[in-house]
């Protein structure tokens, strides 16, 4: 489903984020990326979503070479993925409902169908009572759940999360991790970068560790 083929990524500053990395992620897999800060976890996730382009090698997502993709094709790749970033990147001047609706608006979904799907996504993350409130009034854990609802509203087959529990207290972190595990159980391919792999490892996750852009395990 996702294949990294001798991928390296160098930044103009000279920093080498990934070095000759080869990796295959199968359909329906739960993959946990571990490693210290700056190990290359975020870069690896960004390459999947075409937020970065590889300096060399190939990144294939569902058979498509992301690095050689035309710019006009990139939005369609991103619509097929669910992205949850460390900073939740919510629009603070929009309601929870509008934030979750955004991926459907950009993909041209008709409002009636889109609203139904937003309700389902909010129900899935337990935020139905908060759909008309502004995200700024929510706790960090609730804001992250809004971001997760936004990521799953398009019903993606691949869900990518970059440190989704980094700024949350342990109780919230367990809650969010349980939510991700439930998506995996429903058949979604889940790729997570995390410092705390104990939230997933006991549940059949494949753990790989990166260090200085290289694969350790």
């Amino acid at each position: 489903m996702i294949q990294f083929d001798h991928v390296s990524k160098h930044y103009p500053s000279g920093h080498e984020a990934l070095s000759d990395l080869s990796l295959e992620i199968r359909h329906g897999e739960l993959l946990v990326l571990a490693g210290h800060s700056g190990a290359g976890k975020s870069t690896l996730l960004k390459l999947i979503a075409a937020l970065e382009a590889p300096s060399s090698g190939r990144v294939l997502v569902n058979g498509l070479d992301v690095g050689r993709m035309r710019r006009s094709q990139v939005p369609y790749l991103r619509r097929s993925l669910g992205l949850v970033m460390q900073e939740h990147r919510l629009l603070m001047d929009r309601t929870v409902f509008d934030n979750v609706m955004l991926p459907l608006v950009v993909s041209g979904e008709l409002p009636r169908d889109a609203k139904k799907r937003v309700h389902v996504a909010l129900e899935r993350v337990g935020l139905t009572p908060f759909e008309r409130v502004m995200p700024v009034t929510l706790s960090g854990g609730e804001q992250q759940r809004v971001a997760i609802a936004r990521a799953i509203v398009n019903r993606p087959s691949i869900l990518i999360a970059d440190e989704p529990t980094a700024h949350l207290d342990p109780a919230y972190a367990r809650e969010i991790a349980a939510l991700f595990r439930s998506f995996h159980a429903a058949g979604v391919t889940l790729i997570l970068a995390t410092h705390d792999d104990t939230l997933y490892s006991p549940y059949g996750a494949r753990r790989i560790e990166l260090s200085k852009g290289r694969l350790l395990t």
Binding site: L51, R71, P75, R78, L83, G108
Partner: protein, 300 residues
């Protein structure tokens, strides 16, 4: 799907216009003022051209004879002119009638009474068969060369001067429209630049979630178009108000010259052209701005 995405873009553009009404109205007024000057100039030139057309009539030549020329000599001149095939109509105006006409004309009656002798000469007014400048010039040369003739005057000369003036005014209005149209493009360019800066986060998130470049650009293009259109509407409002304000004074001035002046308001076509022009320039400014500021896409 395509129509829907345009509808969404239009809605978002309208929301942006409505979210800061004062700022939107002020920007539209700047555009309106920039457009009013050339539009007003063009409309006034149009009115002046209509006036010149209305009073020019057929082009004629006035031939003034020397004061010492007798009526018999004048008859000889008349016979010569009637024999000329280039002349289609000829009218003799004796000096007595000319004086009568002068005293009947407003403002000159007192002057005529004060005169001891009639200083006016006998004259012929003739209409050439062809109204071409070459015919007029040939006739003028021939008539000036006659020993009985003191002066030849082309009666439509001043009308031609008005036409030339109107044409000059029109060109000036068009040049001004080009210059101020550029200003309109710059105003819109800057407005959109500021919008892109303030909405950088939303743009970034939209691109992250799979928005196409067109999806991001379209609301800005619609915004530019709507702002230009609004500026155009305001501009016509200003042109109309200014025409209404100056019409009574212009008509009073025209009346003092015994001219009936009707100030015509712009036609529907002229209004449509200005609105389309303003909307197109707004769109152009927005297009330049999004092309310049969204070129690399602020994804991260």
């Amino acid at each position: 799907m395509s129509f829907y995405s345009h509808r969404i873009a239009l809605q978002r553009a309208l929301l942006r216009l409505g979210s800061k009404p004062l700022s939107s109205v002020l920007s539209a007024l700047v555009i309106a003022i920039a457009l009013t000057l050339p539009a007003l100039g063009y409309v006034l030139m149009d009115n002046l051209a209509g006036l010149a057309r209305g009073i020019s009539g057929k082009p004629e030549l006035s031939v003034f004879l020397k004061n010492e020329i007798t009526r018999d000599q004048a008859k000889i001149v008349e016979a010569r002119l009637l024999a000329d095939t280039r002349i289609t109509a000829l009218r003799f105006i004796p000096r007595e009638e000319a004086l009568k006409q002068l005293s009947a004309h407003g403002g000159f009656a007192d002057v005529v009474v004060a005169l001891q002798d009639n200083p006016l000469p006998d004259a012929f007014v003739l209409e050439p068969k062809e109204a071409s400048p070459a015919t007029f010039e040939a006739l003028r040369t021939m008539l000036t060369a006659l020993p009985e003739v003191a002066y030849v005057q082309l009666d439509s000369e001043w009308v031609e001067r008005i036409h030339a003036l109107v044409e000059l005014g029109r060109r000036a209005a068009l040049l001004l429209a080009g210059l101020l149209g550029t200003a309109l493009v710059i105003v819109t360019f800057n407005t959109i630049r500021l919008q892109i800066l303030t909405q950088r986060h939303e743009i970034s998130v939209s691109l992250l979630l799979g928005a196409t470049r067109q999806f991001v650009r379209r609301p800005f293009l619609y915004f530019g178009l709507l702002q230009g259109l609004l500026g155009g509407i305001f501009a016509w409002g200003l042109v109309g108000a200014l025409l209404l304000a100056i019409a009574p004074r212009a008509q009073a001035l025209a009346r003092s010259y015994s001219i009936v002046l009707d100030i015509a308001m712009p036609s529907v076509v002229e209004i449509a052209v200005l609105l389309a022009f303003a909307a197109a320039l707004g769109w152009l400014g927005a297009a330049f701005s999004v092309r310049h500021h969204l070129h690399d896409g602020p994804v991260d």
